[in-house]
Symmetry: C3
């Protein structure tokens, strides 16, 4: 019996410190009131929130973290928010006048869509960085570019039969919202109010166009751009999740941007898959070697990392561009990164809204120069050097830049072939002032640079994923498509010859 | 020394209760006799079984579970089966007269293929539900439909050169068994007996045609349809495994039904990938928020789920259809779910064995009506509402139904183009009374609705997987294929014009 | 307070035995000197190494392992290496005279590229086995085969416009190194020396062509073939990693060799995905049933496995071929395995460097005979039998050999069609003495056997992955491509007819 008590005591002492705070006690009165109903209405998101850091500690405590582990980057978080954990009310009641569609709800002025400006209340540095990210501008970069919108029309428009012709109905908003804008972000708008019978009586809510959406460049009801939950999913808003490559996969799985597929086939991805269960995805800063032994997407592109001595290897950046000299996503050709994250302002030498000219040269003035490219290359390579020698890294980089050149060259060849087709009138494009994307042979051309050259470049950039550079949408397929262009042209030539 | 003994005691008390039963003691004499030889012959499946719940407890104990955790749904399990765990003999000796091919084996009457009727001995409710599942009828739904069999001939038939023509040899049984029927299920038949020299002497076994197979609609030797091990793999028969999306991937990975690929790219799939290692896949009922924070396939389509208060969110269904208003898998168009899981009985208005007419309207009388669709929609949405507001869910659903309309419209346009091709005699199909699937341009048409419209609809239904709705077999590719149809027709027109 | 001390004692006794060696104490003086600089320069690989078995124990201790767990297969490891763990110096200073490009570095003669001959110092048996592996010969098997090099030219060569023609620039070394040779391995060569300013002063290093590379058949600077780190990634060199299918995925993800994709969709892969987190990937030998309940790539092809009694089920083989009767990777047709791992010596009956003739018969004398095939089949099936009955395995095998026949037949039909196209002069190939891979219609033909027939056969061989045998690059697509060949030929016929 004595031993039983002894054992009980041992277990008692083994449980976490009883003086530790219970997060339930940190909940504000306002959030508590939300939970009274919403806990049973939406148990999934409430429990998800209970697994979050937002639930575990208060902003005041988070602000007290010293050194590189500090996550609340705003030193001036309002006093009123410092002593409760971050629950429903702390975000959905913030800045009520700033948001269109804020509504009265049981005595509170609630807004449905939390924006990066709300998050900036605590995470001001990250929000500022993200505003320089091309992804924050993803809505406008697509929608305000007439050439890209011509492309989306030929993707989302529905082909219909009119008499003996096929026409394309203009793309509708709902299709656009679940295709291109799913990732780019929709433009949210309040279109009215709707009265709904709920378990708790009749209630009135704003009606929102473009909702739901968590796209990276969403236009919010306070006019801000972006959605933090694109990568830090509601309502856990987890850093660990964003550090895993699955997060990026949601929008970068290909074949136009096959980043995830290439990564998971690369040596880095293979190591991640085999060992991730023993890695630490929550440590801040993220210690190379100790927390992980191969990079994920975030390691190279975003995260604050240090070596085992605590020396910073890379600074955190939610802008991404500081580490990116090249834009390997070809439009139409791969090119140096644009200077501004707002790419809708770019015009090439022919006045087209493209960062490159049709002959493959770069749109003057809108792209970063050699010197800036060199600075960014050094920043990126500092991560590589944590596991690789300079010679290894140089060898890799030289191959990548060679591949940028050769894929741009293949794109040029294809573009010339298409120009000949247009000239001969076999299809109607630029010379005829018509869409360059709406005919079969034009789509073969867009496949070449949009799917195949991009797949090859992503593979090259990640130094692996062999087949994504060869048989899986890579060089083997690229060359097949180029011969398809040639073959189609030759057949048309033969048919038209005999006409004469 | 005293401390050593104290420590030993602590550990002693920490091991599981010594009074707990040892599953080895629950093994029946019959199963014990099986194990004497088969444990060394097939260690993989024997150890797999040892990890199963079948091994851990007896049906009698399982029947004593109260409330939603009850898994043995038959209240009348035969007394003789209640006190041993469920081993080899308990299944393979059941109902020996019901199975064709039951054979004498060391004094026992054994059958190789365990059927859902055997499983129903304990799991009667699940078996009954599954008999209403279209997957249980998957063999007949394919094989008894002459139009679908025409399609399979053009898939499985081997092209051979005869003189200067290409003909297609009729598909053979072995090919059919490892292609379409791998998932649909084969028809098992006893074709004779075979004598084999084994380590334990000469033995006689029945020879089975269609074996091995674990397809969801397998025709068993007792005449029943289905295979529980399609999803609950032998010999662990695990609920946890079936709750993971990999199980569904085996037959739903695309591009005709790209459910897994779309899921793994959707927000739900991203969360699953990032967090599953901390989730509980064995708890019954499955508690939303507590056991998991994003749905898998099973969550939305099959599982019994509750909220954290224990209130049922969704009832378990092995039929699946109770939660499915639409059938987004187009044949040729997406359509309301069929009334009967036996779809081979359906005839459209032209007498073709299809649930839709060639103009996209629905085959009258065979499909569920609006009212039933509404009921099923509500059932499905109750799961969504565990994490999403009504407005979110409504917005999503409206987009999905819009996509059903637009993809059906694109299919109609393509079908009209093919009809013109047939009329002009450039290819031979319906008007000529020939196969609609065996020529190149017909395959372009079937790609459009079978691969691309389906990919788009699965992406829409899962509210994500952006690129599967766009560049990865989605709208971008759909429109390319439609222009390919047009382009082919135009080229043929030009060639035939000049003939005149 | 007394209880506190008691508890402290309990914890104290629970930590691992304090007498256990600290691996840091096993580091040699030479390796210690490397670490002084390289630990901070490359923390990733140093920490990775600290997670390795090479760090944990010494060769001397590893040699003392008795029975099947022995990993150091050389009984004569030099005495000088036995008492330190295996660190930087133990590998990079080995056999300095054997390696081209060994350089002076802080008083040591270092070589950058560690070769299988270095690894053989401890792992002699594995190295010997691997020398018989076709993968060790992968560089020469590609580069010394003029027909395959013609194929790589049409893949890696860059199409350029010359006047009104399209020509292909010869493939460059950097492209070749990151496409085909990424997996096949590059040929490393010292091209000079380079002086570099480092944090530790000016230093001179050899410049290497073909670097970096970890391809399976890399030609090393000591003339040896292969790279152990292709599968056992530097610097952990883990057996557990190589046992996971991700490792194989790096080079076998398709569509030409879609082994990983097929596996992950097969029943075996589904079980692996669902349960791997509870499996033991480090145990040696690998115990079927106890350590895992479904095979990975390594289980069937490489690993030493036993049943739960310790009886060997399969012997370890780094050659792989002992368990492989067929080569299902068609060149142009599937065929019995070559006798020699050096396949560049093979000539078919027409003198072409192919293991099969153009009519599908096998290149006489270079392939293993029926008897050897039977022996290898038995070896492979002994693994199957750990979970499946002989009847199951026979049924599977019969289907696979049927599929080898039918896919070879489809390839023959396609080849005859292409021959007719060549004869009629619509394209230029063998009869004209020109490339058989460089025109559009020839690429349709190569797709048929290289992508589609291979996908079908991999699916068949893994008894699953239904759609990779049907809609996902399988039979559905195969038949579409064959009709595309026919359709193209018919269109050309029509055009040329009217010419006359």
């Amino acid at each position: 019996v004595r031993f039983f008590w002894l054992l009980a005591l041992v277990f008692f002492l083994m449980v976490p410190n009883l003086n530790a705070q219970n997060p339930e006690d940190l909940i504000s009165d306002e959030t508590y009131e939300c939970l009274v109903c919403h806990e049973s209405l939406h148990p999934g998101i409430v429990e998800s929130w209970r697994q979050s850091r937002h639930y575990q500690i208060t902003p005041g405590e988070a602000m007290a973290v010293e050194g590189l582990g500090l996550k609340v980057s705003n030193p001036d978080v309002p006093m009123a928010l410092r002593d409760n954990n971050v629950g429903c009310a702390e975000c959905h009641l913030l800045r009520p006048d700033a948001h269109d569609g804020t509504y009265e709800h049981n005595g509170y002025r609630v807004h449905t869509v939390v924006s990066p400006e709300d998050c900036a209340t605590c995470h001001s540095v990250e929000r500022e960085q993200y505003s320089h990210n091309v992804m924050a501008h993803a809505y406008g970069n697509l929608v305000y570019n007439p050439l890209y919108m011509d492309l989306t029309e030929t993707i989302n428009g529905v082909p219909v039969r009119k008499g003996d012709r096929i026409e394309t109905k203009p793309q509708d908003d709902m299709t656009m919202a679940e295709s291109c804008l799913y990732c780019h972000g929709t433009k949210l708008e309040v279109t009215g109010t709707e009265v709904r019978d709920t378990d708790f009586g009749t209630m009135e809510f704003p009606k929102l166009a473009g909702w739901p959406n968590q796209g990276s460049g969403r236009i919010n009801l306070d006019g801000s751009m972006g959605s933090c939950s694109a990568c830090h999913t509601r309502h856990q808003f987890s850093m660990a999740e964003a550090r895993k490559p699955y997060t990026c996969k949601e929008c970068h799985d290909g074949p136009d941007v096959p980043a995830y597929k290439v990564y998971s086939t690369s040596k880095h991805g293979v190591i991640f898959s085999a060992k991730q269960k023993d890695w630490n995805f929550t440590n801040t800063p993220w210690v190379i070697g100790q927390d992980f032994t191969a990079p994920t997407c975030a390691t190279c592109h975003i995260s604050l990392t240090t070596d085992t001595d605590g020396t910073v290897v890379a600074e955190r950046t939610h802008a991404l561009t500081p580490r990116l000299p090249w834009r390997i996503f070809g439009l139409v050709y791969a090119h140096p990164q644009p200077k501004s994250p707002d790419t809708s302002i770019i015009r090439n030498d022919d006045g087209l809204p493209l960062p490159t000219n049709l002959d493959g040269t770069f749109a003057g003035g809108f792209l970063i120069d050699q010197e800036e490219m060199e600075v960014r290359k050094q920043r990126m390579q500092s991560t590589c050097m944590s596991c690789h020698s300079q010679q290894w890294v140089d060898g890799h980089w030289e191959r990548m830049e060679n591949t940028i050149r050769t894929t741009n060259e293949a794109t040029l060849t294809s573009t010339k072939l298409l120009a000949e087709i247009w000239e001969k009138g076999y299809a109607k494009g630029l010379p005829q002032g018509e869409s360059v994307f709406d005919e079969f042979i034009e789509k073969v051309w867009s496949d070449i640079w949009l799917l195949h050259c991009n797949s090859i470049r992503f593979t090259s950039a990640m130094a692996g994923g062999g087949d994504y550079g060869v048989f899986a949408d890579g060089r083997y397929v690229l060359n097949r498509r180029v011969t398809e262009l040639k073959d189609w042209l030759r057949t048309q030539d033969m048919i038209h010859e005999k006409k004469k």
